[in-house]
Symmetry: C2
Subunit: 143 residues, 2 copies
Amino acid sequence: MAIKNSEEIKAILKEYGLRITKAREQVLSEYINSKKPLSIFDFKKKKVFSTWDESSIYRNITKLEEAGLIQSVPSSKDMKLYELAPKKDHHHHHHIICTQCEAVQCLHDCSIDGQLSKMAKKAGFTMQGHTLELTGLCAKCSK
Amino acid sequence: MAIKNSEEIKAILKEYGLRITKAREQVLSEYINSKKPLSIFDFKKKKVFSTWDESSIYRNITKLEEAGLIQSVPSSKDMKLYELAPKKDHHHHHHIICTQCEAVQCLHDCSIDGQLSKMAKKAGFTMQGHTLELTGLCAKCSK
DNA sequence: TTGCCTGCAAACCTTTTGCAAAGAT
DNA sequence: ATCTTTGCAAAAGGTTTGCAGGCAA
């Protein structure tokens, strides 16, 4: 998703019925402009967030999730991960996690639905959905 | 996987160079005989485990993971999930869960590896593995 | 003004660790 | 006899909550 400026962020918050506060704008901005899921740790690393109390970041993440702007992502680590929720123009996608450095990346072409439906049918089921996570080595770690 | 008795469990522990203790046998047995990933909560629910201290269960899970008998599974919840590692579960497969009656069935033809590898490669990753869960309606419930 | 948001501190929950006693090899 | 595992209690790390004051609508 393209980088959005402050006015656009505010408009989105308004559209979702959320109050506009500086902390909330910054949290949403991170998710909108990030290519990968973010944990509280990712926020704490950035000095922009050193002004905000951790609990406020947590509460804003919760608010954004309740509003449907972000969603939680499965992880093997001890921290919760969230990513921007898919909008209508977005594609259903999955993640691949590096088994060495734990980097997470989104995979934007999920072209296996047809095959999965067939597998389900063989077992006598009508498929409704699926969850899929890949593991592997990222470019850096496979060197 | 077929249910294994106490002697078989002991043999596996020995094979993996682990000492045989009652607690460890019971933890491994749960993973071997479970059709789904287990968290510490699943252990605490069972009264067999009420005899063991939580820290011992945690330590045994750690030991089994280090030995390569179980592996961690990505999750959105607050608790870590583990499942039997694929080596012991010689038949790589997935599950489909009925969204109505919660019946679980194994899917024994996983023919998507090739496609997943391609998806991973596009993202710059070398795929190592995947976890997949399908949801749908079973034969009975879709009537 | 009204009610939501924030910082602070404390509570909470899962997981880890230190230590001495009990158990496995 | 030696080295590992256990129970207990305490600590650690991430997340949530209560409260009083501050800010958005």
